[in-house]
Symmetry: C2
Subunit: 366 residues, 2 copies
Amino acid sequence: MKRREIFAVTAGAVAGAAFVSPAPAIAQGRRVLRMVTTWPKSLPGLGSGAERLAKRIAEGSDGRLDVKVISGGELVSPAESFDAVADGRADLYHGAEDLWPGKPQAFAFFAGVPFGLTAVEMDGWVRHAGGQDLWDALGASYGVKPFLAGNTGVQMGGWFKREIAGPDDLRGLRIRMPGLAGAMLRRVGANPVSPPPGEIFPSLQTGAIDAAVWYGPWNDLMLGFYKVARFYYGPGLHEPGTAISVGINLALWDSLPAGSRGVIENAIAAENSYMLAEFNARNAAALAVLAGRHGVQLRRFPDAVLHALGTAAGEVVAEAGNADAFTRRVYDSFLAYRSQAIAWSKTAEQAYLTARLLPFKYGEPA
Amino acid sequence: MKRREIFAVTAGAVAGAAFVSPAPAIAQGRRVLRMVTTWPKSLPGLGSGAERLAKRIAEGSDGRLDVKVISGGELVSPAESFDAVADGRADLYHGAEDLWPGKPQAFAFFAGVPFGLTAVEMDGWVRHAGGQDLWDALGASYGVKPFLAGNTGVQMGGWFKREIAGPDDLRGLRIRMPGLAGAMLRRVGANPVSPPPGEIFPSLQTGAIDAAVWYGPWNDLMLGFYKVARFYYGPGLHEPGTAISVGINLALWDSLPAGSRGVIENAIAAENSYMLAEFNARNAAALAVLAGRHGVQLRRFPDAVLHALGTAAGEVVAEAGNADAFTRRVYDSFLAYRSQAIAWSKTAEQAYLTARLLPFKYGEPA
């Protein structure tokens, strides 16, 4: 791994232009950090979260730090974002840890794996049960310091053109689903495909694909999937809370004064729950529009389908978790936390949410 | 409401000492903010969260701001914390909005009400669905600017000396439970009581009370309730995610430079999810100890009990929500959000958590 020698461009310099020595950047009293993202700028939730994070850092630092957000493809391709930060072409990335090709499987556990942790559980594991130490060690081996920076919360299980009555109905279906969740689908006989985002809608429309998983009601409503697929299945179990992460070039991080590190750390942690709250609120509102105004047929996967998918998920996650010795350490830590989290959730969150569905009267919205 | 004229004591001055003019505080380049809390300093989760918040503000401001944490009872009683910030005896409070005697019922909705919103839903309502605007207006009428600053997540339903097989088993039971949830219990024939925290354990031991709700496994384990009550019921539905809040004297807030406001806002928002994650992780670990090492009998309230409690909760929350015109506006906003949140949760989070409980194989912890 290359060591960065120059950390930031001065204010006013064009991003991506030749590096200048750090001295003038500090002399001007304002440091510009270049943050590459894996999202289009206009993508609500993820793209807007990156923009909001930049604003938080600028405001919290009283102008000492400025973050220039560089959308996916502008400086490097989205998939190159991690390497760009590792080798100093960029200072930070805003993405998800399962998006880096050729990296150890360990990374995927910090984005989310099928039938894994919810958003709050991921926060608990990473921040309070050993996850961050493992992640720091993993990132440090590439020269990157990683942080939890947001979460989509539980997503949806996808738009289907036909109903899924049992596991057999998944056989042969071409379903847009990337990553480990795609491998899970393959194990139950489906055919996971990954058309570019812009081709998902037309592919679904023409029947070139049979189903598509995107994010959740908020993003899905905007793309209009309800116009070309009638059945909207829940829950999303491919990544039950995709964790969004920020990585910072480690040498840069170590070189920053404590105050700047504090500003950046607080801003990222602030955005972590702000983004999750936004997905929760906007998904709830969009679901009402989809089900109410657009007549979308909401469906829950039958238990037999969920069981088959859970079994397949257990297999692909175990395979990923045993890919190498370090990943196995991450997998063990994840499994131990998941086991405790399930027992706690069964007693608390899940039990509460189920209790709240009982048909008692509880006010009427005005 | 009094307007504050002097906002902070200089570094080194003893908290609670005579005010000094703001000029020297600024001239020294360091401003000390006095934060009263409603918790004992040593209370894990809430007390430690207040300490961590102070550290975040100090680090993020690079020493420009320093927060002196003043535990409940040191400067003012916990219940006086809100008024102390409103009238300038303190700069910030760290507490929960249902702890202020004599204030409108509207406040309680920003702490949590029986069968209300989970932590993430509360974040969604306050930050992205109109809650903060209402809360700001409510706080401003007293000269306070409020923020979400943490959450306990779903708690437990309490320690019971006997099993609860149906709603009739609650009749006549003396149960430690404060606030609106106490009123809920009264409606199903129980007798809610509020002994001081230090008397809960001996009261349960002697049988002076029959049951006690404290926080959750993490805090409950430390207090040793398992030694004097055998049955540990879930879920907690009295406040399904108690929101912790920080209030800042509004005139002080308005007077702060944008950079300081940014530091404080990010630090509070950072702590908001950090605390929730800590409760989630520590509760999960403590539940394993209680059920495994101490042989605690975990129980879920029967559906008939949950239905009776839900009906009672709906009544007491409606009564509170109709207490005055402004509270009714808050109640309406809360109900509208709750309704959408339930539909979304049923499709996503709750459906996922239930699916994850299906008996498929998914690795074994090392």
